[in-house]
Symmetry: C2
Subunit: 152 residues, 2 copies
Amino acid sequence: MGELSSKLEDYLEAILVVQQEKKVARVKDLAEILMVRPPTVNSAIKKLERLGLVEHQNYGYISLTPKGEEIARCVYERHKTLLDFLVRVLGVDPKKALAQACGMEHSINEFTRKKIQALSEFFACKPEILKLWHQFCDERKKENNSGGGGKS
Amino acid sequence: MGELSSKLEDYLEAILVVQQEKKVARVKDLAEILMVRPPTVNSAIKKLERLGLVEHQNYGYISLTPKGEEIARCVYERHKTLLDFLVRVLGVDPKKALAQACGMEHSINEFTRKKIQALSEFFACKPEILKLWHQFCDERKKENNSGGGGKS
DNA sequence: TTATTTTTTTAGCCTAATCTAAAAATATTC
DNA sequence: GAATATTTTTAGATTAGGCTAAAAAAATAA
């Protein structure tokens, strides 16, 4: 009855993502995007079935129950919000941002997610402020590059 | 030779924090702040010892090696940066922010940490912009409160 | 339709991280 | 300094999440 683990959240999210791309999700697809072996997917799916979050008959497709889909969507929203913030506001390299968003997406609550999304939109709506923010970063970079040039 | 798990990072960070508060860290202290039982601390400490990150003689105090302290400081910096950002920029309740920072602190790299810190400082340095950001949030809140008053 | 390939499942093993119960060491109190 | 209390350690169990190897089912090709 406790909280769903972040691993199981990952499986739900992956089912949602695969469904969006290929209509239906299979064990193989989940194994690929989560980078685990098929038997690992199998046992995770069984757990999620017991929890009433996915449906799956043997050798068949995997689908989300309404409750499972709700959770999957929450995780996915957090993922998108964080990725967007990292890339667009903080200027993190998209590949590196992806890994970091995947890590963080299990830790934030809905209040925080909304605030982060609002912050991304704040900068998107106010190009002058976005510019000031970039200038602020550039100045700091310069400061760090001066200071300690060569070896002692 | 792979990466340190986030659990083991937590132990290193906790040793650092306890040392700051009480000069020396003991099993009991770590068990308390990490909310686990003493035998759990014991086996974690043994692993960290094998990895050359802590020093500990039986029934004695626990201390960080230089390498362990370096990692502990990195984790702690990420923790502080995230907590500050959540509370001061996003306005998250400090208690809730703590739990979320503890979750996220294992996922971000140094580039991201610096950027988040810079963003907190950007708002701290520019009170007019901070005000605009708060206004932006307030307006969104109003929009959400209007829209869909009662039940259909 | 039979043979081959692919996918999924089962069975069994492993590691990390936790726990409880009890033993051992250390610290405190009388 | 002996008795008591606290802390740490050991021993052994449990759970989550991963793996490999092999069996079973389904899909594809001949």
